[in-house]
Symmetry: C2
Subunit: 393 residues, 2 copies
């Protein structure tokens, strides 16, 4: 298979999402050095843009030079010292991953577990916090990419702070697609990824640390176990001192800058409304096709739609046909949901009316070939009705 040009795909999986041509063009710009005044100016502007997207005033807001998982690990290893207690909400892949990372950092982990596909209820979180002797950190996954669950954060934040803990949130999939109100929710630290609702290629992980988290960083008695992710050093590299740490990924930072500009040109509110509307149209269309959502209505993410795979339908065959014949990527289930759910991402540039309708039409063509009877045109029509209603508002 020739590597270039890569095949044209409509990316409706769990990420990466489609990337705007302006972001692709930014990556094709020639490089400057990482200490060039032009790059330093870009770093400063990027920090400001990220603050707006995270809805925070936090000074320590910057992209970690790795993917979302590097941001996850950065938050954990900078805040956790050996023996610290960490309460983690576990209802999918990313909560499970947080347990692994925190354990490797020497934490004593207390899990607040819930079935995959459901939220972590406040009482379960409260009980886990109560089981911990003196939790230093409470972590929740805002948007569980593995299940499509939207975790409520208001009461969780109150519970964490009442216990004297830092409140840390995984916003990998939520940032840029729904409100991530870091300051209003008193989130002490958060991390995200670039390849979801920011519609930038994968490779960077925006993080933000508030005053209490920074204080915990300063009060450490053990060095951060990771040199590459040591925020004290990264902060000086991204700060006024410009103390050399690593070489920032220049082109990826060009891309992130341009992607953030696009987010803010659209405006956060308009962007969130767009994600919501396309989600609603997709759900209407899927249900009209006889498919069933895997997450209860109040807890469905707008950007990651988990759909039950009907008994008679072959998961892999459908996804392969969508990819090869229709040029559309959707995601399969992970862990216990493998073979049981599809994950349809409507993130950033992938969340548009045209793309939702294209997927619904493709499903109408594909599902009957794989043993599922669907009324011709029903999915697209149901989606269209949602858009028509919105147009009439």
């Amino acid at each position: 298979m020739a590597v270039f040009p890569p095949p044209q795909r409509l990316l409706l999986g769990p990420g990466p999402s489609d990337v705007h041509p302006r972001v692709l063009a930014a990556m094709a710009q020639p490089l400057v050095g990482h200490l060039d005044p032009a790059f330093i100016a870009l770093m400063e502007e990027t920090k400001g843009l990220l603050r707006r997207v995270f809805q925070t005033e936090n000074t320590l807001t910057l992209p970690i030079s790795g993917t979302g998982s590097a941001g996850l690990e950065a938050c954990v290893v900078n805040l956790v010292e050996p023996g610290d207690e960490v309460v983690i909400g576990v209802n999918g892949v990313f909560g499970t991953r947080l347990v692994d990372v925190a354990t490797r950092a020497g934490a004593t982990v207390v899990k607040a577990g819930a079935p995959w596909g459901e939220i972590v209820p406040d009482d379960v979180l409260a009980a886990a916090i109560a089981r911990a002797r003196r939790p230093k950190v409470v972590v929740l996954v805002h948007a569980e990419t593995s299940t499509g669950v939207w975790q409520p954060l208001d009461e969780a934040s109150r519970l964490a702070h009442a216990a004297g803990a830092l409140f840390v949130v995984d916003c990998v999939t939520s940032l840029g697609g729904c409100p991530v109100e870091v300051d209003r929710l008193r989130i002490d630290a958060a991390y995200s990824g670039t390849q979801k609702c920011l519609s930038c290629p994968p490779g960077l992980s925006p993080i933000t640390f508030g005053e209490r988290a920074v204080a915990a960083l300063r009060a450490r008695t053990h060095p951060v176990q990771s040199w590459y992710l040591d925020l004290g050093m990264i902060e000086r590299y991204w700060g006024e001192e410009r103390v050399y740490h690593h070489t920032a990924p220049i082109s990826m930072n060009y891309a992130l800058y341009e992607a953030l500009c696009l987010v803010l040109e659209e405006g956060l509110d308009a962007r969130f409304r767009r994600h919501r509307l396309n989600h609603e149209a997709l759900v209407a269309g899927l249900e009209a096709l006889g498919l069933e959502m895997a997450v209860a209505a109040p807890h469905r993410l707008w950007m990651l739609n988990s759909v039950r795979i009907p008994e008679a339908v072959d998961d892999v065959a459908v996804r392969r046909r969508l990819l090869e014949t229709e040029g559309i990527e959707i995601g399969g289930g992970l862990g216990p949901l493998k073979g049981r759910t599809w994950r349809i991402g409507l993130m950033g540039e992938s969340s548009t009316r045209a793309k939702v309708l294209r997927l619904l039409a493709a499903l109408e063509r594909t599902l009957p070939r794989h043993g599922m009877a669907v009324a011709e045109g029903a999915g697209v029509a149901a989606g269209e009705r949602v858009y028509a209603q919105a147009d009439g508002r």
Copy 2:
């Protein structure tokens, strides 16, 4: 300052180096998913291309999803367990960094030190190995980017293996610019960066692990402290199983693939000769201008040329004028060499006759403005003579 388009620079610093238009074009290609058959094919091809550049048959050869420093940390944390003894050659920034990273991983570090700007002599290394009780790993920096020193590896490899240790080499700046003969030199593990002689933007770190290193990985009794850099997991993601770990930076991998193709289209031998010739022309030109190289002739790197800054000359003013008026980036000194040396990188796409002569001409214009008398045209003429000689060969 407007961020786009970035200023046009000739990158003759310690990296990033100039990037070929084909690599920039590759990054502007639309994305596919990281589990797309097209991306999996690219991953497979990339592993093969990396093996050729590393001159190895090692199966475990792939790019880590972070910059060179992430590759450094990956090698250390995967090979070192708490209490292990590690012997590290320390004669610059990167040896010093290795000590920091290994210490954070719980290693007992024995330093084989040498003054910055000199190699670590074999007898110093032998003495350090002898001081260690039972060293598990011996690490040397092949091309010390902070000083321009080319570390010989033959005898060091013999010493490391005679002591039963793994021999690990930092090839961040050497790979693609001079021979990095992983198999012939019995290097057990090596890491590099993309933004030096591979002339790809920064953001990935190619690594290679040989059989003995893989055996050490398998024999670990403690989990690798970094989840993000856990090679056992990364290996399964890049291997046939494709077990989801993180989301590989798609566009950066497009870029690396294209950059590796360019390296191998030129051919390693031709590429090394080119780096050598441009280095020789640069040195002749610099010396004709009355400048003095900071490293003794037998140990000078071809791709990173350290030059003493004459007493009367203002380091920062010269570099600023080169950047702002001539559009050329060169590097300053680091650590004890700050203000005392310039670092001129001739890496990958930046190592050409036209670029060497452009720099020499720019220095001829710049140095007299900053208190150094130079004979007009002497630098370019001396460089030209080296090229003429080579043409006549």
